[in-house]
């Protein structure tokens, strides 16, 4: 097969020369986007949802893996299953609702019927259908997604059967998911209310932005000014921000304020020190969490943490706690599905506080995210430049990046592949290398 793209033209990864560069084509080329959908999103593990979205027998929710519509369903025995949301008869999407509860799924077109385990239960007028023997030999069940697994309520699936185990895919980031889940003995849940938005830019703008500490004071000064003002006035009419109580982002902060960890398979974390304080809704459980998990792990639960599980899950714990799913639609169009993710059983006051902090910062109708998404779109315009194809946005921190972890990761026995320990102004970009190395690995088959 003729390979249209060469990796060396797209990702200039020469650690021995201190060079890591990304070609603008990765953001603007529709042909490359089609390959990404097939090989990055439909060729490996992607996040599909939380188990609490289908908590009871016969609960289901709909989603996508790449371009393929899927259903995650809990069958009558309580086992979660994942199948393609398409009737084998004519390909009609079986489930139209976002979520619900159904023992039987009946195709709206010709009434082929399936149970909540995806098994075909009826083909309308089968006996009088004069089918050939060949038809009977075919499997009429809903197509199972070949790989489907769970880690502590986080559900992942792969349309490609030939992938490493989920355990291996997540690797050390399981300990970072533990920090999210262990905030409550009952685990986490999604606060009702899904917020969905689009931006006219490539999905990798969002992938990078979540881990991009460098942009915060540049993109969000209008928000920061409001936080400063609110912190001074301490008015009960407005919500106080967790960000305002921390200094990891303040240019005059001294000493180590955070840093980054990179992991195999494209996962990254950027983090910042946040004090254990009443600026976070978790504070009501601070002592309980220390008793249950030790002070070091408790303190990590309070730290600012932006975690990306490549390629489509981001958990942002900074101004509040958000779970985002990235859904690329075209090379220059991306849909974001976002939720407030919260520890189960927190007090009514803590939950309300969390929600208020969330809305102000994370919503596309809030005071911070719009300034991000507009920047993504402005970047998309600039990606048209041809003369200088290599971006200069992946170079900060290259000389600070070391193999393995550091004193802070050791506190929770976390073993990253690479780490950067940072002051407030370092704002590492070398962690993005992890994304693009995983991207290249998934695309290896179609790149020369």
């Amino acid at each position: 097969m003729m390979k249209r793209f060469a990796l060396r033209d797209l990702v200039d990864d020469r650690p021995q020369d201190g060079v890591f560069r990304i070609n603008r084509s990765l953001f603007r080329d529709p042909a490359l986007f089609d390959l990404e959908m097939k090989h990055v999103f439909e060729g490996g593990w992607v996040f599909v949802g939380l188990s609490t979205q289908a908590e009871n027998p016969h609960d289901y929710f709909a989603g996508t893996i790449g371009r393929v519509p899927i259903i995650v369903s809990r069958d009558g025995n309580g086992e979660l299953r994942c199948f393609v949301n398409a009737c084998p008869h004519k390909g009609v999407r079986l489930v139209q609702k976002l979520c619900g509860n159904a023992r039987r799924h009946v195709c709206p077109y010709h009434s082929w019927t399936f149970d909540s385990a995806g098994t075909n239960r009826n083909i309308k007028w089968k006996k009088s259908g004069c089918y050939s023997a060949g038809f009977d030999e075919e499997n009429h069940d809903l197509a199972s997604v070949p790989r489907f697994g769970e880690y502590r309520g986080f559900l992942f699936a792969s349309l490609n059967p030939d992938v490493p185990s989920l355990e291996e895919h997540l690797g050390e980031t399981r300990k970072l998911l533990d920090l999210v889940v262990d905030k409550s003995p009952d685990g986490v849940e999604l606060v009702p209310g899904r917020v969905c938005f689009t931006f006219a830019a490539n999905w990798k703008m969002q992938l990078e932005n979540c881990a991009d500490q460098y942009h915060f004071t540049s993109t969000h000064p209008s928000y920061i000014r409001i936080l400063d003002q609110r912190a001074k006035e301490q008015s009960s009419e407005v919500v106080q921000s967790s960000i305002a109580a921390a200094d990891f982002w303040q240019e005059d902060a001294s000493g180590v304020t955070g840093g980054t960890y990179s992991f195999d398979h494209g996962h990254v974390l950027n983090w910042g020190v946040m004090p254990v304080s009443a600026a976070l809704p978790e504070y009501e459980r601070a002592d309980d969490l220390a008793r249950a998990h030790g002070t070091a792990k408790r303190d990590w639960m309070f730290n600012m943490r932006n975690l990306t599980i490549f390629p489509n899950l981001q958990i942002a714990e900074n101004a509040s706690s958000q779970m985002r799913v990235i859904r690329p639609i075209a090379h220059d169009l991306t849909e974001m599905q976002t939720w407030c993710i919260a520890p189960r059983g927190e007090s009514a006051q803590a939950r309300s506080f969390r929600i208020r902090q969330y809305e102000d910062f994370f919503n596309p109708t809030g005071m911070a995210t719009p300034d991000d998404t507009v920047c993504y779109e402005e970047a998309q315009y600039g990606m048209a430049e041809q003369e200088r194809p290599w971006l200069q946005g992946h170079a900060r921190g290259l000389t600070a990046s070391v193999e393995g972890g550091n004193d802070y990761s050791e506190l929770i026995d976390l073993k990253p592949a690479q780490s950067v320990l940072a002051d407030a102004q370092l704002c590492d970009e070398s962690l993005f290398g992890s994304y693009y190395r995983a991207w290249a690995a998934r695309m290896a088959e179609v790149l020369s």
């Binding site: 009702p192 899904r194 938005f197 309300s352 208020r356 809305e359 596309p364 005071m367 920047c375």
Partner: protein, 165 residues
């Protein structure tokens, strides 16, 4: 003062819309009581909206005008790239129904379409849904004590600020 009639109630809503269309945010803020509730619920699933703002997520939820003042401050700050090239908006309000409430307040139901021209990207979009206003007399003037914005097309293209609904 007696309750508002249908025509007066509609005129009140048209005036609010006009202030937003003109970007006259001071006049717009002045329509609200200091302790106003400003609420745009999110959608829970296909068919139901969130209805408990303390336990469920909203697109916007504010108790007190002070929050709206913060929003206006951000828009005017010169430090928000999303507000640098201001989208042009045009509100259309219809189906206005006014009824007097027990406590001498007024409840107004209406439908809205806001056509938005995003000048920065040269894209147009229409937001549509329903408003529920509760008005209260303050020093002889009707003020908005509560406004609920029920946004029907809630997949937001890039961003949506208070002037877009």
């Amino acid at each position: 003062m007696t309750a508002l009639g249908q025509a007066e109630a509609a005129a009140f809503l048209y005036r609010e819309a006009l202030f937003l269309d003109r970007g006259d945010f001071d006049a717009w803020l002045d329509l609200y009581t200091a302790d106003c509730l400003f609420w745009m619920p999110a959608w829970r699933d296909d068919g139901t909206q969130t209805d408990d703002p303390d336990r469920e997520l909203s697109l916007i939820f504010y108790r007190s005008r002070r929050n709206l003042e913060d929003r206006i401050q951000r828009i005017r700050s010169g430090f928000s790239v999303a507000s640098t090239v201001m989208p042009r908006v045009s509100h259309m309000i219809g189906n206005v129904l006014a009824e007097a409430m027990d406590d001498a307040g007024m409840r107004l139901d209406s439908s809205f379409i806001v056509n938005v021209q995003d000048v920065r990207t040269n894209r147009s979009h229409a937001y549509f849904g329903r408003y529920e206003h509760e008005l209260r007399l303050e020093d002889g003037a009707w003020k908005i004590a509560r406004k609920v914005i029920r946004l029907m097309n809630d997949v937001v293209p890039t961003m949506l600020d208070i002037y877009g609904v």
